[in-house]
Amino acid sequence: MTTQTTAVAPPTAAVPKRRRGGSLLERRRQRWGWVFVTPFLVVFAAFLVFPLIYAFGMSLFTSTLATGTTFTGAANYVKAFTDPLFLEGLGRVAAFAVVMIPAQLIVALVAALVLDSLTTWVSKLSRLLIFAPYAIPVVIGALMWSFLYSPRFGPASTLFDLVGLQAPDFLSGDSVFASLVNIVTWQWSGYYMVVIYAALRSIDPAIYEAARIDGANGFQTATRIKIPMISSSMVMVITFALIGTLQFFTEPVVLRNIAQGAIDAAYTPNMYAYSLAFSYSQFNYASTIAFSLGILVFAGSYLFLFLTRKQSGLK
């Protein structure tokens, strides 16, 4: 319970407010803080703040061979938000978010709840094995699955032959969505499971004892006590999954090697920005797409944190 109460306190509140008269010497000493934070702030300015400003600046100009670079104001944004390729990509990552995040979360949560109720060597080993994909680079994970999906190498045809069925084509236009969901779920569920599991372990077991005396069964304990008590971890997991999903890039790029028909160059907004910049040298328009995506992701995750502020304890 104590963990939970501290969980509600925002980081700043944990610092005791000690304004000790504010003697000159003391105030001068506190300025040392700048010495410690400045190295990071330099990198922060150079590789986050400045690129963002730069992208925004680029997005206000249009460059053509005929007229050179001219200031066009919001024209690129009007173009982007009426560009069917960008809008389709946005719709697609939104659809991925709706399917993929619950899929990962359910697997992670159920696995964590089961692990929390067991203390055998099987459960310890399973925890390690379920986490293992996190240690594999996303590119390699996607490469592995693309081999497994491939009708040439994959085991699907052999497996389906056994039961006399025809193997589905994992890489056709209809099924590639599900194939990508599977890759991401496989790659990340274990990591989320470890986070949720650790949160479950930090609950005081005396509470379960009290619930049992009150006649709660295992399922009720899980849904009425455990899940509400780890809601701040769940909010964090969902936020990370949301940010990750909206900038979907690596898996579809790798899968595109063998499924060009099903995954086009503008499959996700990030892929679209990449191909605009590096295949068509439209850096101004690519900056517009990248900046718009950045703002949308920021706004989306901020909105999510705002709506769940009661659960997460963030203010």
Partner: protein, 305 residues
């Protein structure tokens, strides 16, 4: 109590007494739970098992033998030899590059995070709240949205196609700063710093000799997270590196796959791709295995808060 509770979860999963089986009906449920876990574990492990098996096959074995079992011909060592001869062993250059980028970027990011986390946690300087608020908000900025502007900026400074193009942007880790700050706040008591100062230690000495040793679990976690992050990175090196000799192993293997799929017979190196992928995942899998004690507790520092 309020300060020690997060500490236990941050330094390691708190031990809890085995709430072992109590009734016969519970035993039945435990068997069900075990079966469920085993099925789940198989799903997560089988692609890795496949990769291991595939690394031991030559190209004809990859096409002709059962996917999840070994071929009659064990070709792992031939494949490794092949990695040394294919394009003059460029695979090993890629692997070396991955190590260089991951460690330079990861260690750098960790050092910056430790310093900044300590500064934010233990000094009350003017503007602290505002600056930290901006950093916290930046965790929600998708880093891939920065790749294209970063590419354009780096090309203006002539840094494209140099190792710096990958290493410098990898130094940025707002989440690392957040984790270090949260951890430092609870793990380093103000009284200890005060005592060190009264004994005449300067600010740096207090930091290095008093605070730093207390931060070890969080340092390992942040280091692990940032090394994994850089090792995993694909979009950034894909954009800023074109010289084949500078690629990290992830981008290099993807390039081989694209070439092999494009079909030209001599360029099909499927067996080298699987073996190369297998070798490249070993270092991280092994380090996670040996550093279990740290990441199992450490990964949750941020979430408990």
């Amino acid at each position: 109590m309020a300060t020690t509770a997060p500490l236990t979860t941050a330094t390691g999963v708190p031990s809890r007494e085995d709430r072992g089986p109590r009734t016969g009906h519970r035993n039945g449920r435990r068997i069900g739970s075990h079966v469920f876990l085993i099925i789940l574990a198989i799903y997560f492990v089988i692609p890795i098992w496949w990769l291991f098996v595939a690394a031991t096959k030559n190209t004809s074995g990859l096409f002709g033998s059962p996917a999840f079992w070994f071929d009659d011909h064990f070709a792992l060592f031939e494949n490794i030899a092949g990695l040394f001869t294919q394009q003059n062993g460029i695979y090993w250059t890629w692997l070396g590059n991955s190590f260089l980028y991951a460690f330079a970027g990861g260690i750098g990011a960790t050092i910056l995070s430790i310093l900044a986390g300590y500064g934010f946690a233990k000094y009350r300087f003017r503007g602290r709240g505002a600056v930290f608020g901006v950093i916290l908000g930046s965790i929600m900025v998708p880093l891939t949205a920065l790749v294209i502007p970063t590419f354009m900026l780096l090309s203006q400074y002539g840094l494209i196609n140099t190792p710096w193009a990958v290493i410098l942007p990898s130094l940025l880790s707002p989440f690392g700063v957040y984790l270090m700050r949260v951890y430092t706040q609870d793990a380093v008591p103000d009284e200890m710093l005060e005592a060190a100062r009264i004994d005449g230690a300067g600010e740096f000495r207090t930091f290095f000799q008093v605070a730093l040793p207390l931060l070890k679990p969080a340092i390992v976690t942040v280091l692990l997270l940032s090394v994994v992050g850089t090792w995993n990175n694909f979009f950034l090196p894909l954009a800023v590196l074109t010289d084949p000799n500078l690629l990290p192993v992830t981008v290099g293997l993807n390039r081989w796959t694209a070439l092999s799929n494009a079909g030209a017979g001599g360029e099909q190196v499927w067996n080298l791709i699987t073996t190369g992928a297998f070798i490249s995942v070993l270092p991280l899998i092994l380090s996670f295995l040996f550093l279990q004690r740290y990441w199992q507790g450490g990964l949750t520092i941020g979430s408990i808060k």
